[in-house]
């Protein structure tokens, strides 16, 4: 068996060298398909990262009754923290709120407090949810708390955001799935054409007594090697390109990028695996047609 493996390997290498057009076609097809697939996956990962960031910015403002005592205010805070799914609770005093308002009207041109004489705004708690999708549910619970005058989380905005992000997620998933199917098909087609143009060789091998597996092995090894080589080339280009990109993009705010090494490595090695698998699978299926002699 070991001896055979060596033999099959030698055959595969020789055949790759002698059929260079076919080898080149297979490698480059795999490389291009994996590259495109990889780019799409990275784009999708980044989009979903961005979406998650947008969603996690969602917060619930719960405005308190004007006449709450400090003790009552603390009690409200405890009750807020007790709600399942609440991530963080931050106290926003009425003074702070006025300062924000002030800022949005331009630093010190209009001194609202001076103009008004007193601050009309209420104290509030700013709440973040562990899962942004639970915001509406949590808001409902907060409304029940005694001492909370009003709850605001931009209901309409949040619903729209969720709808939009759902669509983006579904669409990019569909795109990735279609792209993967396309890539599989394209690679399979190339391998099929490559084997088609060697069908007489297969036919002859069978005629002089080769078993199916004796014919298959060198083709398989060729398939694995070419598929892996193509995928590796793609991954190399992808990694270098993406690294350069996040290098120059990380300075831009608004644009959170996925630069999690472990995750990227998983994506990359997954893609190489796909390349190798498709190389063998495509060969297996295409070859069977010509083995039945």
């Amino acid at each position: 068996m070991m001896k055979n493996l060596v033999y099959f390997f030698r055959e595969a290498l020789k055949s790759m060298a002698r059929n260079h057009l076919l080898s080149f076609a297979t490698i480059s097809t795999v490389a291009i398909c994996i590259l495109i697939l990889g780019m799409a996956i990275l784009a999708t990962l980044n989009a979903s990262h961005l979406i998650t960031r947008l969603e996690s910015d969602l917060e619930i403002m719960s405005y308190l009754h004007k006449d709450l005592s400090p003790a009552q205010t603390v009690k409200v805070e405890q009750e807020l923290k007790a709600i399942a799914g609440v991530d963080s609770v931050r106290f926003v005093s009425r003074d702070e709120a006025l300062r924000y308002l002030q800022e949005s009207y331009g630093e010190d041109r209009y001194d609202l407090e001076k103009t008004l004489g007193n601050n009309p705004l209420p104290d509030a708690y700013e709440i973040k949810a562990v899962d942004p999708h639970e915001v509406p549910l949590i808001a409902q619970q907060i409304e029940q708390i005694v001492g909370v005058e009003r709850v605001s989380y931009g209901k309409e905005l949040v619903n729209n955001l969720f709808l939009a992000t759902k669509w983006v997620r579904v669409l990019s998933l569909i795109f990735i799935v279609l792209l993967s199917l396309g890539a599989i098909f394209l690679i399979a087609t190339t391998i099929r054409l490559a084997i088609f143009s060697r069908r007489k060789e297969v036919y002859l091998m069978k005629l002089i007594g080769s078993t199916d597996w004796f014919v298959r092995w060198p083709f398989f090894i060729e398939g694995i090697l070419l598929g892996t080589a193509g995928a590796l080339i793609a991954i190399l280009l992808l990694a270098v390109g993406y690294d350069t990109l996040i290098g120059s993009i990380q300075s831009v705010p608004f644009m959170p990028v996925v630069s999690n090494r472990t995750m990227l490595l998983e994506v990359y090695s997954g893609l190489v695996l796909i390349g190798a698998t498709l190389g063998v699978l495509g060969t297996y299926i295409s070859l069977n047609r010509f083995l039945d002699i």
């Binding site: 033999y7 055949s15 002698r18 059929n19 007489k200 060789e201 002859l204 091998m205 069978k206 005629l207 002089i208 007594g209 080769s210 078993t211 004796f214 039945d292 002699i293």
Partner: protein
């Protein structure tokens, strides 16, 4: 009996190639298949290694039915034969040496045996020095001789040759014939389709004459004249 055909017919969609052929060939025989172009010689030969299957009838090789044989057992039968194809069927991407070696690798021969045997059969057919040529770099007759060398490589029990001298001059043809007679004397059964009456006359062996898909005559050794 090594080869037995019982009432074998082969009908292609475009016409009948063999019509109710019965034929027995014993171990150790040397049989020529003759007959005009299109008589069915190649069809009979292709059936012996199951490139074609009969439309009707039964075929036995070494008492095993080729018709009922399972797909997986076919390679075993083929490996015990040496086959020379009318159209050579060489591997274009392999050198002369590799083409012959491949036939031995198929049957699991060791590299040592291959290294010893391939040059041997190549010089038997007068092709020493062409080891590293590819088939596309050979003359017609040289390609044909590579095909013969490949068939001889495994010292098969049954050698089937379809028009193995069609591209050879008379001297080369005679050498090949003598080679086959020699092998036959050592026990290999030989079935050879040919148009070359000179060879057939020189050999003085059994001749099966086909005509329009039927056995027109079956001459015992020495019986066939012109």
């Amino acid at each position: 009996m090594l080869v037995q055909f019982y009432n074998v017919s082969k009908i292609y969609p475009k016409g009948k190639a063999l019509d109710d052929i019965s034929l027995k060939i014993d171990r150790g025989e040397f049989v020529f298949l003759m007959g005009p172009s299109g008589a069915g010689k190649s069809t009979i030969i292709k059936m012996m290694f199951r490139e074609e299957e009969p439309t009707r009838g039964q075929i036995f090789i070494a008492d095993r039915s080729l018709v009922r044989m399972k797909r997986n057992d076919v390679p075993k039968v083929r490996r015990n034969m040496g086959i020379v194809f009318q159209d050579f069927k060489l591997l274009e991407r392999k050198t002369v040496y590799e083409n012959v070696a491949f036939a031995m690798e198929v049957v699991g021969a060791s590299q040592r045996n291959i290294k010893a045997r391939v040059p041997e059969v190549l010089s038997m057919v007068g092709l020493r020095g062409k080891d590293n040529s590819f088939p596309g770099e050979l003359s017609g007759g040289e390609q044909q001789r590579v095909g013969i060398a490949r068939a001889l490589a495994n010292q098969p029990l049954l050698l089937i040759a379809d028009e193995p001298t069609g591209n050879l001059d008379i001297d080369n043809s005679m050498e090949i014939l003598n080679l086959l007679i020699d092998i036959n004397r050592k026990g290999t059964t030989i079935i050879m389709a040919t148009h070359d009456r000179e060879l057939v006359k020189a050999a003085q062996k059994r001749v099966v004459l086909l005509e329009k898909g039927k056995v027109a005559a079956d001459y015992a050794p020495g019986e066939y004249v012109i």
